[in-house]
Symmetry: C2
Subunit: 400 residues, 2 copies
């Protein structure tokens, strides 16, 4: 891996999670004050760490991110808020025992069970242990990735290395499981680190744009969590390395968007029991926002998701889900392909070989849906899972 | 049963459905021109019979309703439109072979498979057979009810008999399965017949209000179909029986709303494989419309629905679904009860006996969720099903 210059990483076992040996405290530290931007859940029921972090980004005085998994510190009232602030105090003290760092130079994230107070003794030990293990190494980075996971099967990372002018530039990212995917588990968390120099407002703008094309376009079941957070740390601009502008900014934004999409897709790809990843591509809407609404409506339809589980090329479910998305479509120009095979055109069904289409769904993890809803320029792509009995079994087990 | 005076009913077997002996053509006729009002799907992908019926209501010249099940006549283009109009022509001719009735005096509904043309020969024979069997009898009414069903397990009817001033008044209703509940099956259909005298605009207004509290508050999976239709036939006002007004109108509207709710609840109660009916009652929102949005968000959450399947009093899923409904709530006043047992109050979890709550869910078909989201006057109630493996199995079977 090619890590961004100037950052160190650690992930340790502090027994917040019950699973033996599971890393559950992650610390990411910048060697000097860096730039941070954040995009957070818009759920009005919002976890304490989100409230704290949201108030601290964008910023150009951030020194790091502290994360725990196994407990979401959500619906925990004023004590929860104090605990979230305390995590950042503990991180500041652990990084620099001389007391020169302040709590508000840290961003905090939590993920896991809702409605329980954090075991602060374990969290404290974890933060202190992590501070001793910080390293600018691949192993440090991977440990940090593991420390943010909950019910995820696989570790989720992505990286980019490219030149901006004469400068080598690196972006690395990590994320964890989508939405409310597990029993009382909250949260999509994502962290992106780059050594590209950015102004805070610029970082915020570029990150939000990337989120709109990536993390805001995925769903497992569409349940927005109390803890969803995406935070990016970037290098502080200097006289010799000023903030990106012009073509360099555009090139960076493109690299960031691609990395964010790569990371985001890993979330539904790893949904519990998911046998299919659906890529839903909408074209022909009046605007990109309209296309986004149609993609979301199709992605959230249980009838579409169960049809894919069964390998059923059920175009009626897909087309009708577009029809109730709440944005204008033009039924007379509606056209649908599944895995490249045309099933519906100009508002009417086409003859097709159902077995061929069904085999193409059953034979691959990825199912591609191309839906045209008019003649406009609006486009969007969403990713989701199928809906199968394994998902239901997992999410209906008695857990409270 | 107490049928409204002046109407006759029939339901016959015409072999549109493949199941032997299944009634699939229904005819309901008024002895003289009556008043009709209709509420239809807002899906932009809309079936031909909806387009035809929508153009004919409200009206005071309607003579009847013709329905087929087994084929939705949806996504069938201009031929589908001609077929829908032809059904009303056939009904008019069958009722009065002298040719004094016109096609536009009939409303038409279809439900069943999407994207196939109607077998018009069978439809024609069915309409003619039904016209010969029309009867103002309970058996006629029940046959008519059976003729509109598709994958429904149970026949769904409701009735009211009451006095408006000195006049005996009757309302009867029938409906069939919710939304897109079966493989490629479309449609919620509902028909309400009353001998109360109403003006067309008044009938439309009262029917829409009742729909907003009933059929618009139910979901199985929230997939709005191409064919959803609710039509009411009412008596023509006369000099001796003028249109209801004042208290009589209010009394009638209340009776109608209660009947509509009774009918509507039967739909999720009969959802394929559903083991639970969820009644989701929202209070404390700023407005009724806001409460409605919160109720819908909770009702459509797969995580809420799977939790109920598992008998899991998972308050985090319910409260967080309210938080992303897109309308303002006040987290600090949020409170939740399941089956009357308080789990969450003023934004924080309460201690509760999980086994007691779980047993209360597992021990009954009905689960009652009371969620307060603020201190406002807004209220709403929705009904939905749980989400279990049987639903997924049913909807993922290969069917195209």
């Amino acid at each position: 891996m090619h890590l961004p210059v100037g950052f160190r990483f650690a992930g340790v076992v502090s027994k917040i999670k019950s699973r033996p040996g599971a890393r559950d405290v992650t610390l990411i530290v910048s060697d000097s004050a860096c730039v941070a931007a954040g995009v957070y859940t818009t759920n009005q029921i919002v976890a304490a760490p989100v409230v704290v972090s949201r108030s601290r980004t964008p910023s150009n005085t951030i020194r790091g991110i502290v994360v725990n998994s196994g407990n979401a510190n959500a619906c925990t009232g004023s004590r929860g808020h104090q605990d979230a602030v305390e995590m950042t105090k503990l991180a500041a003290a652990a990084i620099d025992p001389t007391g020169s760092l302040t709590a508000d130079q840290f961003v905090v994230m939590s993920t896991g069970v809702i409605g329980r107070f954090l075991p602060m003794d374990k969290v404290k030990e974890g933060i202190q242990a992590a501070s001793r293990e910080l390293a600018a190494t691949e192993q440090g980075f991977l440990n940090a990735c593991d420390g943010i996971l909950t019910t995820d099967i696989a570790r989720k990372t992505a990286e980019r290395k490219f030149k901006l002018g004469a400068n080598d530039t690196h972006i690395v990212g990590m994320c964890k499981g989508a939405g409310m995917i597990g029993p009382k588990m909250a949260t999509m968390l994502a962290i992106i680190i780059t050594d590209a120099p950015l102004d805070p407002a610029q970082a915020q703008r570029i990150l939000q744009a990337a989120a709109n094309k990536s993390f805001n376009c995925i769903s497992v079941e569409g349940h927005m969590s109390t803890n969803d957070s995406l935070v990016m740390l970037a290098a502080q601009p200097t006289a010799s390395k000023p903030a990106l502008d012009g073509k360099a900014e555009l090139d960076f934004a493109k690299q960031l968007e691609e990395l964010a999409i790569e990371l985001a897709k890993k979330i539904p790809d790893d949904g519990e029991g998911a046998t299919h990843l659906l890529e839903i591509r909408i074209a022909g809407a009046n605007t990109d926002a309209d296309a986004d609404a149609v993609a979301r409506s199709v992605a959230l339809s249980n009838l579409v998701k169960t049809a894919i589980t069964g390998g059923d090329p059920n175009w009626g479910r897909i087309v009708s889900a577009a029809g109730y998305a709440g944005v204008p479509i033009r039924p007379e120009f509606t056209a649908l392909k599944i895995n490249g095979i045309p099933l519906f055109d100009r508002g009417e069904p086409l003859p097709f070989d159902a077995t061929t289409v069904s085999s193409s769904i059953k034979g691959a993890k990825l199912t591609e849906i191309d839906l045209q809803v008019g003649m406009g320029p609006g486009k969007a792509t969403h990713w989701t899972t199928d809906l199968n009995t394994e998902y239901v079994r997992f999410n209906s087990e008695y857990t409270t």
